[in-house]
């Protein structure tokens, strides 16, 4: 087994590209980083950001309850799980786009109708640069972190990454 240097997925030895993310498994061709900030983005792993424990809800939870949960816990999103597997994310952006002023009519409906399904996930071994890229491509502010069996183990936010960068800037 060989670990993808970008996303941390396991690959069969001898393959040239990661079956999961398509990146070359050999990253020795990369331009060397020119600053501490670049170096930290290109070499540090997600695990270093100390992913928080996500707040989870079941797909059947009424969306009105989820709205209150987001406010009470002061969080931007919840992860919708079936067992330990993440099946969706419901964020304040989903609330704005899909609930908007119709909250009275829709509050009793299940969150599964309004969540963004099949969220992009990462393993804790993935590089921070890879997380930045995933967030940028999908327009996500949060990425659930999963373990070997796809079970939810944490969540990271764009802000966690910026905080890490700020620390690196202060250090450099």
């Amino acid at each position: 087994m060989i670990l993808c240097p970008y996303c941390g997925s396991e690959n069969i030895k001898g393959e040239d590209e990661c079956a999961d993310c398509g990146q070359p498994l050999d990253d020795s061709h990369l331009t060397p980083p020119t600053s501490d900030v670049e170096r930290s983005l290109l070499s540090d792993r997600i695990g270093l950001l100390v992913p928080k424990r996500p707040i989870t809800v079941a797909p059947t939870t009424p969306v009105g309850d989820v709205l209150r949960l987001l406010v009470e816990r002061r969080i931007g999103c919840v992860v919708v799980v079936e067992g330990s597997r993440p099946v969706g994310i419901f964020s304040e952006r989903d609330a704005l786009r899909k609930i908007n002023t119709q909250v009275a009519e829709l509050a009793a409906r299940p969150v599964s109708e309004f969540m963004t399904p099949n969220p992009q996930t990462l393993v804790a071994d993935a590089k921070i640069a890879f997380a930045v890229q995933r967030m940028d491509l999908g327009g996500y502010r949060h990425l659930p972190i999963v373990g070997e069996r796809g079970e939810l183990v944490g969540i990271i936010s764009a802000r966690d990454i910026l905080r890490h960068l700020t620390d690196e800037m202060a250090r450099g």
Partner: protein
């Protein structure tokens, strides 16, 4: 990468480049007396996370999706004027401020967006968390860009999760 740029553009210049490189969004301005319902409609229509509340062309407040979320959760009336629920006197940036400053403000202050104003307080753009992430992604070394093809999203079309 824009045409004509050299490899040097891939370096992260957080302490030399200014925030106007971070893909500022056009300001979306409403009046203090406009209703929250109108703001919610405009935010949804334009896929934006906030509106600026402006009086005589000057930013006096900001109303964000977070403010909207609280009202949704509380079952508040959306007929109320924006000035009752906006955050007054928001923290702002100037176009000459550095990317590093915007990142630090977002990381420490918890802001997801920072309006850019001119010397008279008139809004010229908004720096968003998404714009900063796009800036970071664009400035990585070229070789990291071998990702499998995915549909290209423009800044306005993105969905926040």
């Amino acid at each position: 990468m824009r045409l004509g740029e050299t490899d040097v553009s891939f370096q992260l210049n957080l302490n030399t480049e200014t925030v106007d490189h971070c893909y500022p969004a056009e300001p979306l301005c409403l009046a203090p007396a406009d209703s929250v319902a109108e703001a919610l409609r405009r935010m949804k229509e334009n896929n934006r996370g906030s509106v600026l509340v402006c009086k005589d062309q000057i930013v006096i407040g900001v109303f964000t999706e977070r403010d909207a979320l609280k009202m949704m959760a509380d079952g508040a009336s959306f007929d109320a004027p924006l000035e009752r629920f906006m955050t007054p006197d928001p923290v702002v940036l100037r176009a000459c401020d550095l990317v590093g400053k915007a990142i630090a403000m977002m990381a420490q202050g918890g802001y997801r967006r920072l309006p850019i104003v001119d010397d008279r307080g008139r809004p010229t753009g908004i720096i968003t968390l998404e714009g900063i992430m796009h800036y970071l992604a664009e400035h990585f070394p070229a070789a990291i860009y071998n990702l499998p093809p995915e549909p290209h999203h423009s800044m306005q079309e993105r969905e926040g999760a």
